[in-house]
């Protein structure tokens, strides 16, 4: 704070300096700040706020030095975070694919399938997924488009794309948010962490090495994805809505800056996480895509990855098909 104060005192003539360099020394000699001026300056720690007669009270903030810090974040820190998270994840996945290749289905395909996700499950997933993809692309465009895409397609096309992207980003936030809520309702029961998860993690999730750990409907990795999507998605949605309705929830520009920072960091990390999710659900593992594709998975796949769940499902199916006649005829 003293540092800042000193800077302010020194900065008294920064404007003069900025405008006509040689006048500074003379001005400093001849023109001391008045006492009132110094008192005023001493208050200048943080935003300088006064009174305006117009209703827009944001206008009462004369100067907000925090804008510089936000700028540094947005042009400096944020691209690094995003670059490392997303680029790093991509690199990791490529490397993993090169080393491990596609994880094949153990024991090959059986003739049997069991239902893993019903219609509502899949609708929820794909609504959220498609929304998220568009949100991610349009969001990343805001962060990186200027440096990556603009030089390729030119300012007019880029502005048109970004403008449409902004509209899409705003509107698709609603299905995304709805999807998050539905996921929570539909799948939270199967995503409560348990002791099995520790074992699964200890076993490397079956991706590292070839040993499968026991798992119910969702293994620890999937639970991690679930909670990332639900918690981070909710946070991203919340911060996004604050940004969408500027200065309604958050009154001050500082709050808007913080919100924007949270939104961008969380979003870029979630994008990185989802990249891994997409990888494992598509090219990374044989038989995985079907779960959200047709909703039915090969029995062998299920037994390999979700043995306990597969048993439960089969037991339930047997109860429902086999036990019914028995119930009609009481045992004697």
């Amino acid at each position: 704070m003293t540092m800042l104060r000193r800077c302010l005192a020194l900065g008294l003539f920064a404007l003069v300096l900025a405008l006509g360099q040689p006048v500074l020394a003379q001005a400093q000699d001849q023109g001391r700040p008045s006492d009132a001026e110094l008192q005023l300056m001493q208050q200048l720690q943080g935003p300088v706020t006064g009174r305006v007669s117009i209703p827009d009270q944001r206008a009462a903030t004369l100067i907000q030095p925090a804008g510089k810090e936000w700028r540094d974040f947005w042009r400096g820190t944020s691209p690094w975070i995003g670059g490392i998270a997303i680029g790093g994840m991509l690199a990791l996945l490529v490397l993993f694919f090169l080393i491990r290749g596609r994880v094949p289905m153990e024991g090959g395909r059986s003739d049997e399938t069991i239902t893993r996700f019903n219609g509502l499950d899949r609708f929820t997933h794909w609504m959220t997924a498609i929304s998220f993809l568009v949100l991610a692309v349009t969001g990343l465009n805001i962060a990186f488009g200027r440096d990556l895409l603009l030089p390729l397609i030119g300012p007019e096309a880029f502005a048109a794309f970004s403008d449409a992207g902004k509209v899409a980003h705003n509107f698709l936030s609603f299905p995304f948010t709805l999807g998050i809520l539905l996921m929570l309702v539909l799948w939270v029961r199967d995503n409560i962490p348990s002791r099995l998860d520790l074992e699964w993690i200890a076993a490397g999730g079956g991706l590292i090495g070839h040993r499968h750990a026991h798992a119910r409907r969702f293994n620890a990795g999937q639970k991690a994805i679930f909670w990332s999507v639900v918690l981070m998605g909710a946070a991203i949605a919340a911060t996004g809505y604050i940004l969408m309705f500027p200065f309604t929830v958050v009154a001050h520009v500082g709050g808007m800056q913080t919100t924007q920072m949270a939104h961008s960091i969380l979003s870029m990390i979630l994008v990185a996480i989802i990249l891994a999710h997409i990888y494992i659900g598509t090219i990374g593992m044989e038989g995985a895509f079907e779960a959200m594709g047709s909703g039915k998975v090969d029995l062998n796949w299920a037994e390999a990855h979700h043995d306990l769940w597969a048993e439960e499902v089969r037991a339930r199916e047997q109860r429902e098909t086999g036990a019914a006649p028995g119930a009609a005829v009481p045992a004697e």
Partner: protein
């Protein structure tokens, strides 16, 4: 080429809002959009009250231009920071970055529908051809192209608000400081960029 700057001498500003009114009228700025505003610090405090007229300060390394996701800002040969409303997507980021609260956005009614950003142009219009109806409709007057300075400063009755070539207004200000024997009163970059020695 001149490097155009604003300077507001708080020792002289009498909070008459003539600059604001001149700006609104000259540029037909709609209700609710305040390209220029007068802020009174220490309102009512005897001897400490100061008023400052503030608008876009046309920074040399403009934060708005730096953070704009679509790079809609450009700097003219006179060092005036302008932007293209054809490119602007109304994201609001320039408002977060601007130390002076200059960017303004019309509300377009529906949610998230912030319009294209609007701000002080130093009465220098926009990217359209000089002094065309299209330019006026989007950006307001282009007095600079007519060899005139911004109307806010031209209308200032106490000459608190100065606009023009940075070196010339700095010299005028320096002369004032020397004459009255005490300093500052000029508000702007020193506070906004405390750790820099200029712009």
């Amino acid at each position: 080429m001149a490097r155009m700057k604003f300077l507001c001498d708080a020792e002289r500003c009498i909070e008459c809002n003539a600059c604001v009114t001149a700006c609104k009228n000259e540029n037909e700025v709609p209700w609710g959009i305040n390209r220029r505003r007068v802020v009174t610090l220490n309102d009512g405090e005897m001897g400490k009250e100061r008023s400052i007229s503030m608008a876009c300060m046309h920074c040399t390394d403009a934060p708005c231009a730096s953070v704009c996701p679509v790079e809609c800002f450009y700097t003219t040969a006179d060092a005036v920071v302008l932007h293209s409303k054809d490119l602007c997507i109304g994201c609001g980021y320039c408002f977060y970055a601007c130390p002076f609260g200059a960017p303004q956005y019309p509300q377009l009614g529906n949610f998230g529908g912030r319009g294209k950003m609007d701000k002080c142009t130093f009465c220098a219009g926009g990217p359209e051809a000089d002094n065309t109806p299209e330019e006026y409709a989007s950006y307001g007057a282009n007095r600079l192209a007519e060899g005139k300075l911004p109307l806010c400063a031209e209308m200032c009755s106490t000459k608190a608000l100065l606009a023009g070539d940075g070196e010339i207004i700095a010299a005028i200000y320096k002369e004032r400081v020397v004459t009255r024997g005490y300093g500052s009163g000029a508000w702007g970059w020193s506070t906004a960029y405390p750790d820099s020695q200029g712009v």
